[in-house]
Amino acid sequence: MKLLKVNNVKQSKKSLKPIPPTLRGKKRYVLFQLVAEKQFSELEVKKELFAKFKQLFGDFGIAKQKLWFISFNSQGNFGILRCSLEETENVKAGLLFLQSVNEVQVIPRIVSVSGSLKKLKGKRVN
């Protein structure tokens, strides 16, 4: 925490300076579907997904991908992942390696990729 001197009294900084978009790094949201006979919960899918990605790409690979699990809808088994733009193709390929969730066989399918969540959520509803 950076200490600022104001009127000779040290005060703590309340918030961080925002990172400019050029340094923040571009991201993509990947909408995927798990074709299966059963509906899954968000926790189950997240656990399985990260385990598979760790097996495939390792901790460093996931770090480079800046992978983050946004949400999962049990109705229709649709999920959204966030990743960095440069690693989008690797993330999409990694999703294809998912074979089962809680010992139930699944067929993963990439529905769409977008720069914003709003467009993807619209597609999921449709």
Partner: protein, 219 residues
């Protein structure tokens, strides 16, 4: 339209996934002549746009000759170096499957040159990667990265398929373009390969028919 190569012939399941994934299927199996005829009739009755590929059980010119006019495509399992050499040096063979394995990467520039000359497709099956365990997956990826580097350099025709032997192993073929990028292709190249596979295969089989008819006329 996209096309996928599978190793099971449940037409109901394939029809359902053909609609879901918007892709055609090539059913690949070691058929007998009777089984091949029966499957062709079933596909014709159900009015499905599926194609049939015969997987050679051994590197035998007799079997190749017998099935090359009956099946739409011929595939060879590249489990040994001899099988790979047989496949790439024969114009009647359409696909070389399992070009490399998790063991020794028996794939070199000579095979690539012959494959290109005879227009033999190197088929990359995604199910090979799904069925590997632990460290073998890394070895298989390493070997395929090397094999595809050679294929790119020598401009060998390559095709990406799911290679599913059961419905759970099916994957949408257009998603396999991302897998091609992971294996070293640029995105545009990968998309081009995946989109134009069906067109290239059909052109190849058309040329094969013309060649056969020219041979017959010549006789």
């Amino acid at each position: 339209m996209y096309v996928d190569l599978v190793f099971f012939n449940d037409l109901n399941v394939l029809q359902e996934f053909s609609r879901k994934f918007n892709q055609n299927f090539i059913i690949c199996k070691t058929f007998t002549l009777a089984e091949l005829k029966k499957l062709k009739e079933e596909i014709k009755t159900a009015k499905l746009p599926f194609l049939i590929c015969h997987l050679l059980s051994k590197t035998d010119n007799k079997e190749l000759k017998a099935f090359s006019q009956k099946a739409d495509f011929i595939a060879v399992n590249g489990s040994s170096l001899k099988a790979k050499e047989f496949a790439v040096s024969n114009k009647k063979v359409s696909f070389l499957l399992h070009a490399t394995s998790a063991g020794k990467p028996e794939f070199d520039t000579a095979l690539c040159t012959l494959a290109r000359q005879n227009n033999v497709f190197i088929a990359i099956l995604f199910s090979d990667f799904l069925n590997q365990k632990n460290f073998n997956n890394s070895l298989l990826l390493k070997n395929y990265l090397f094999a595809l580097k050679l294929c790119k350099k020598k401009k060998v025709p390559v095709a990406f398929f799911s290679g599913a032997s059961k419905p759970e192993e099916l994957r949408q073929v257009k998603d396999l373009a991302s897998f091609a990028v992971m294996l070293g292709y640029f995105r545009e190249e990968a998309l081009k390969i995946v989109r134009s596979t069906e067109k290239n295969l059909l052109e190849r089989s058309k040329n094969k028919e013309i060649e056969i008819s020219e041979i017959v006329e010549g006789e």
